[in-house]
Subunit: 278 residues, 2 copies
């Protein structure tokens, strides 16, 4: 089994190391503050250089790319493969790939579409981008982190671009869920009651995503399924309801303002997909 | 079969009238501008008073409550049942119920959780609120509009409150979907590719809704599944990615600002559900 090094033992780094050891990969770990290796059947390195030289495959999972760069020893990494699972933007991933290439380091940028407790299991999806041959070399080892791991492209920023796009949808939607719950609560509706209807409404989301994706792909902004004028009227009703309860309306107000900009630009009879045009 | 009147023949009013006639209810229609009754096997009234006096059950479906009030003839409506399916806020519904009571009109406030083409079919859900006995009298007639119609409470604003809450989630989520598609497009990811992953991510939404609903119901804002500090860091990565592509970031920036206000109030180690507290 391939020897693996994990740098960073926060909750996610710890889960990654545990998944490697559970899959019988000899694992070396390092963390800036010691004592975080509890429960791990792994060798503990005193320095990042020591940790890196222990394995051909080095995983770094720290707060962000700046922290990752600050702890990585380029001399030790030369000729090895670095997989960066720290959070960052596509631009940061591209910059890091350039930095790695400049130092003779094989580099994969990865994102984790899973919570810590899902790591290593069937629900964990990890996306990797970077040279296909580098991914292929380590594919079976990286599969220990999640059965749904996949290589999304050679361009180093691609995994982070998938991640940022999907996280945008996720967190904006979560904001919608929390405002739904806040308004329902203010109106005396039980959280479980509104949640049941919200889950029923989710049944329409796949078709809604496909419709919008198809329109964006073809730059066809037909308002047949509903115009931006109609959306504006609906949003105004919701905003009235939010304001009447003195709740935070910033997120929906921003969405309403974006609709208005499109209307002011002459697109009021187009559909919602128009907002993805530029 | 009960005789029914429909006031307002916009796309939705037209669909409602068509559903009544399809269910063999003798139907009378009226619209401010004539000629909108095409394809309907219905009597066309010249005035709202004529339309109202034709039926014990009067449906009004116009742009908003102000327009509804402006066209309704209170003398003609006295002793009849008015069902208002125009869009509005819970406060407007409560005000309209008071107005109806003052004029001796039985009043149900309703919302339509369906697109026009779903009206009358198995996917159309309509929520009604107002006196249970009034709803019971007209339940079987109103069922012609959608099999999933239900009475959500006696309080007249309750249907509009359900609607505003669910629409808040829906439109905020749609905003998330459109920004996902815009960012993916800017990063060179095909709409169909990101849509496929987005639909997979939807699989986690029911559990996410239940988790947040449970926390809001019990005012338990545990950060065990992720803290607001972590959410802020994730949102910052997404915002970096959006800004790097010069895309509209207003909606997510508003969500980020709301998270910051909670952090500044000392709740950074709480979970996302904290945002529904006040």
């Amino acid at each position: 089994m391939t020897t693996v090094t994990v740098l960073g033992l926060g909750p996610m780094g710890h889960a990654l190391a545990a998944a490697f050891t559970a899959a019988d990969h000899p694992t070396t770990v390092w963390n800036r503050t010691p004592g975080k290796e509890n429960g791990l059947d792994a060798a503990v390195a005193a320095t990042t250089a020591e940790a890196i030289t222990a394995s051909p495959l080095v995983i770094v999972c720290v707060r962000d790319y700046a922290v990752a760069r600050s702890i990585l020893d380029t001399d030790a990494l030369k000729g090895r493969t670095l997989v960066n699972l720290s959070g960052g933007s596509p631009e940061q991933a591209r910059a890091m790939a350039t930095w790695a290439a400049d130092h003779g380091i094989d580099y994969l940028d990865g994102v984790i579409m899973a919570t810590t407790d899902a790591i290593g299991g069937p629900d964990a999806a990890l996306f990797f981008s970077g040279p296909a041959d580098v991914y292929e070399t380590h594919r079976s080892t990286l599969a220990a982190l999640g059965e749904n791991s996949l290589h999304v492209g050679d361009s180093p920023g691609r995994a982070a671009a998938f991640d940022a796009s999907l996280q945008d949808m996720l967190w904006t939607s979560m904001s919608g869920v929390i405002h739904m719950l806040a308004l329902a609560k203010a109106e005396g509706i039980a959280a479980a009651d509104i949640a049941a209807h919200a889950k029923a409404l989710l049944g329409f989301f796949p078709a809604m995503i496909d419709l919008l994706a198809g329109q964006v792909a073809t730059a066809n902004y037909s308002g047949d399924a509903g115009t931006l004028h109609a959306t504006a009227a609906t949003m105004d009703h919701i905003l009235d309801a939010i304001r009447a309860q003195n709740l935070d309306n910033g997120v929906l107000a921003a969405a309403r303002a974006e609709v208005q900009r499109a209307i002011d630009a002459g697109h009021g009879e187009d559909g919602f997909a128009r907002l993805a045009a530029r």
